[in-house]
Chain length 221, copies 4
């Protein structure tokens, strides 16, 4: 119990700063990728900043592992955090969780579940899509026979992937570009599942309410 409460205190204290740090990481990565003409010292500084932020993430992961006191089980139970330590670009997605924690603490009138699912899914898709578009652009734009040549192409391709539309007018051709693409496809599947599942449960709930009304409708004299 004590370990649990200490872990929770740690998370509640580090949540907001780490969310900011993850945005800093994403922004510095974006500058790094989109502005290749920066002078060498600036690029080095960006690299150092990214490394520093990643160290913060690693330390946070280590501390929470330690506080959990559950050994290797921690890695499996918090697999999303484990992935995020290895791929810090995905870290901003944790912000969604931080945001929910903050909002709950403030006791704000929470949105109904379906609206929250749509908002969280949309927000995650936005953050992952931006990170994915950057990473794919970085891999692809210099490759021979590449069709993704500008960052605009990359964003366009990312949107068509996340919506599982997939025009194929532009598509990654390098092995790493395609590996990132497969990750984005998985996000697209999950996004589709979230939207569909949310609609489906909304309808079912409404339906059962209407059914109740029908049954209780004409209450008689």
């Amino acid at each position: 119990m004590d370990a649990d409460s200490r872990a929770r205190r740690w998370e509640s204290r580090t949540g907001l700063p780490l969310a900011v740090a993850s945005l800093v990481y994403l922004a510095s990565y974006a500058v790094h990728v989109l502005a290749p003409g920066l002078p060498a010292p600036v690029r080095l500084a960006l690299r150092a900043l990214q490394l520093l932020v990643w160290l913060l993430f690693a330390i946070d992961y280590g501390v929470r592992w330690r506080l959990s006191g559950t050994g290797l089980r921690f890695v499996r139970r918090h697999w999303l955090d484990t992935v995020v330590v290895l791929l810090p670009l995905m870290r901003p997605v944790r912000m969604v969780k931080t945001y929910e924690t903050v909002e709950r603490r403030h006791g704000r009138p929470r949105l109904p579940l379906h609206a929250r699912v749509i908002v969280y899914a949309g927000l995650s898709a936005l953050l992952l899509g931006f990170a994915g578009a950057l990473a794919v652009y970085r891999q692809e734009h210099g490759a021979p026979h590449a069709t993704i040549r500008t960052f605009g192409d990359s964003v366009w391709w990312t949107c068509s992937t996340l919506a599982t539309v997939g025009y194929g007018d532009v598509a990654p051709v390098t092995p790493w570009g395609r590996t990132i693409a497969v990750g984005l496809m998985a996000c697209g599947l999950a996004l589709l599942g979230a939207v569909t599942g949310s609609f489906s449960s909304l309808l079912l709930q409404r339906f059962s309410r209407e059914g109740d009304e029908d049954r209780e409708g004409p209450p008689g004299p």
Copy 2:
């Protein structure tokens, strides 16, 4: 309560005229886009008509905001209306709501929920698809290296996008065309979610009914 009832009265009185106005807007936009050879005065008249209708939408939005008496919360709670004021081409979608209000007032035998969801989703897809096809055609048909050159191409591309099929034999190449396309993809996701969710809740409802029958089936003496 008073504000609420006044808002409802406003909506019930302006609903039908504004629905007609939104169709007029769509039609005049269609003529504007599809008949570029019209004489200059006619084109100017069309423009004026569009501006006029858009003003009506803006006034309606302003009045409803005022009547609601909820300040900035109105913008967030009625975000769809806010979007529609900025993108009047999407206004016809509100017709679906007007139609339901009208039908409910007349006390007509409403369709079951699933049928209504399918009908509304289909209708929205039709209206948004038509508006989207027009807007994409306008952006694309003159662009260099464009693959969407006729309005037929644009409609075909819109259908393949809304169904999340996405052949990619024709696809937008301009930044604005692609921006509109991303909006249509989001509609496609929502459409898919509505169809799937509706099926899923229909099945579940049927299933629970069959389960009840099985349990109550052979009631015995």
Copy 3:
């Protein structure tokens, strides 16, 4: 009530012959499309056969309309039948209904709802897909710049459309081919909805059963 029972008797008597007739129609259409080198009299005979079967469908529709005694409401309530009279290629889909009626009459152990939905959706997709592939092939294979040139291409394209995958390596280019394609996309959406909805309700049902077990699980003394 009497009209209802007479309508049911009509349906139960004509169901099987009309299902056979719809398969005859599909087969003769297939021969007509796939064997263009047949001698003229044979082609004429096929045409006559198709017309004859279509007349049967029209008569069946007329009689059922008459028996229903509901005037124009019949057209709206039986909109699928109305569509089928206009597009007799879609008629085999009604076979699914006939099959269910026959099976229910024989009191056979029916499959569970989810299995039936999957089987019916699969069967409908198969029949509609075959008819659609034939119709698209007929429109496309002679068109200039067509990418669908063989019946194999058409079947391949149909499959990728029904699964909402949409590679776009081959795609229709003629207006009529694309119109049929939009119909197939709608079928694809419905198929996806049926598969997803069926999975979703299966899981929910299982889940509620497991929840019950958990709650009743350790009953204790």
Copy 4:
């Protein structure tokens, strides 16, 4: 009952060895396809190994059929096993079932239903995708005008198919390649259905729990 328990004993004893055998089959097939330059005797040995393993599958199927004592009904009820005997590459999918049986026997804390569905669907997609990529690569890489030329292309194409994205930058062109592709599309549809259905039921369950909390929430004094 006796037949049933003997069948269960057979399955519990042969489950693990056959799962290993199915992986051996997949691995030997992979070597066979991906290393065409192996000396003739080695290739012959691989062929023999595949035949041997396939014989094991056939014997297992035969014994289980015999033990079931249900005649032809067995073929229909165990249609997945029947398919697997004909297409041994799909056999590894049965591993998922074996895994669940093993885990249940050991009384391990099972994952919640939704997590299990996602894990099983992901695992099946992985195994089927690998087998499908191998089979498609084998059919395609030597064909004229083929776009799938390396195994990497084939894996990339398989991923885009299973996610129902379908870019179409590479796509099978041979009849057999396309036949396998249609099977993979069906898997993609099922995978989508599993992910969506799992999300949807998760949301519904959460929702009903929140609804309960709301109702029981402020219990008052």
